[in-house]
Symmetry: C2
Subunit: 287 residues, 2 copies
């Protein structure tokens, strides 16, 4: 029986710390402020917005919503985006991508001030992850995995870690963050031959293929810690499941995160933490 | 007996292509121009400058030298640097780091226009390597390794590659460039436990620890291609040697680059190639 690494426990600990940080900032006259910038009424955007808003307010962060019509012109979009980007009262901007097809998502990404890039999507945020310096922010899901490992005191330095993903939101940044902490990392991907032969030798396995039920016990070993990043629609269950065949993997590894209730429960928390961090950095910079 | 992968052969092939590209650009009215920006008279800077100048001129690239006194003030340095950075007749800038101690090397690095960053040192160049997009340029040594693999038709896709280095000039960018071409890569570093157990299972080994004679045959296997990036002073020999114990490794692997005459012979060529590429990009952008 594996130890079950629950995301809620991590999120709760991060929340306690965040609340204290927000109080400290407010005592200095700063209210960390998140701007959620949405175009149109896509259901999954609105669901994520609702969760982020609730989480932000629960730690004392102010939330501004900018909602633009789905048929807004590029020109009007740019003007609104530039205004929010330049607004000193806003510390972090969450904007939903992709934008509607007639708008230039890539242009918006490049316009975003890295100092407000709480989702870690700008080139300078990614350069920060690559070079291990505090430019912008790490992609939230990648950082959520690190927070889970840290919270449960799972050693990373000197360990072998296999990450199934080379995406810019999980695999590549996570590989870098792990290596910065002295792990030896291999990213497995669609070009990798015989993935189980690699992952089964790792001390830690991060499954982030984004494919339902592809990771069986052959990918693992009994001493392994397994982090399941997958968020896949499971028709049979009528809900969300991870990349793992959980009932096959769980009895055969040392520890594992559930889905739901694992990485996903930490990701929004990391996003909100970035707003606090952005406000702290701005205060320190101006002080 | 291993196949010896000589850098000169790669450099010669790259040079032929570059000459043609320079001719094509000149026919369009563009003379690719390199600016070498040096502060003081450090011997190794001047030696590198001489080599780069010769190589540039041999393919028809114009070279401008800006040489500033070693005791130049930060203010004067900034003014000169900004002028070169803004000068439209210059396509690529090579500036020697570190600058003398009283000048801010990091500030200069951040000021440099990524479009002219032929040495791949700016944050946006590194973001380009990380995200696999044409922003700035890759660090020359990392790219030189890729050029060698390509020139000798050594397959990378689906292969396991071990890179002994996580530096920003070799290990990290090279790991990314290899992964973008579908290799499965592990970067070994000072935090890695039992490096030979990892590297000996790789199809390709890149040794870039920067330490004389540390790589023995135990790190390798008979089917392996070994690229030696090390440029270390060898007291005994009275010259430059690589990271390999060459006479131990060479008989026991499939192919290997010598030092000198391997990666080092290609690096300057890649630098000069970046000037040509910078001129091409600017022409295409303006066209």
């Amino acid at each position: 029986m594996a130890r079950i690494l629950r995301g809620k426990e991590v999120a709760d600990a991060l929340t306690v710390k965040m609340k204290q940080d927000v109080e400290d900032l407010k005592a200095k006259g700063v209210t960390p402020t998140l701007c959620i910038f949405r175009v149109g009424e896509r259901a999954d955007d609105m669901s994520y917005e609702k969760g982020a808003t609730k989480r932000a307010q629960s730690v004392g962060i102010a939330v501004k919503h900018v909602v633009l019509p789905a048929d807004i012109s590029q020109e009007d979009f740019d003007r609104e985006f530039v205004a929010v980007n330049a607004d000193d009262s806003i510390h972090g901007i969450l904007f939903f991508r992709p934008l509607p097809k007639h708008l230039d998502s890539e242009k918006a990404r490049q316009m975003l001030d890295p100092a407000k890039d709480i989702d870690g999507c700008t080139d300078l945020s990614l350069a920060g992850v690559f070079t291990n310096r505090k430019i912008g922010f790490a992609p939230c899901t990648a950082q959520a995995v690190m927070e889970i490992l840290h919270h449960f005191d799972i050693p990373v330095a000197g360990k072998k870690v296999a990450v199934i993903s080379r995406s810019l939101i999980v695999g590549r940044p996570l590989g870098m963050m792990l290596m910065h902490e002295n792990a030896t990392v291999v990213n497995c991907h669609t070009g990798t031959v015989d993935i189980p032969s690699i992952t089964s030798k790792a001390d830690i396995l991060v499954a982030a293929a984004g494919r339902l039920h592809i990771i069986t016990k052959e990918y693992t070993n009994p001493d392994q810690v397994v982090i399941d990043v997958g968020i896949n629609w499971d028709q049979e269950k009528g809900g969300i499941s991870g990349d793992l065949v959980f009932e096959d993997v769980e009895p055969n590894v040392a520890a594992v995160t559930p889905v739901p209730g694992g990485v996903g429960a930490v990701t929004t928390c990391v996003l909100i933490g970035h707003v606090v961090e952005a406000a702290k950095r701005r205060f320190d910079y101006e002080a």
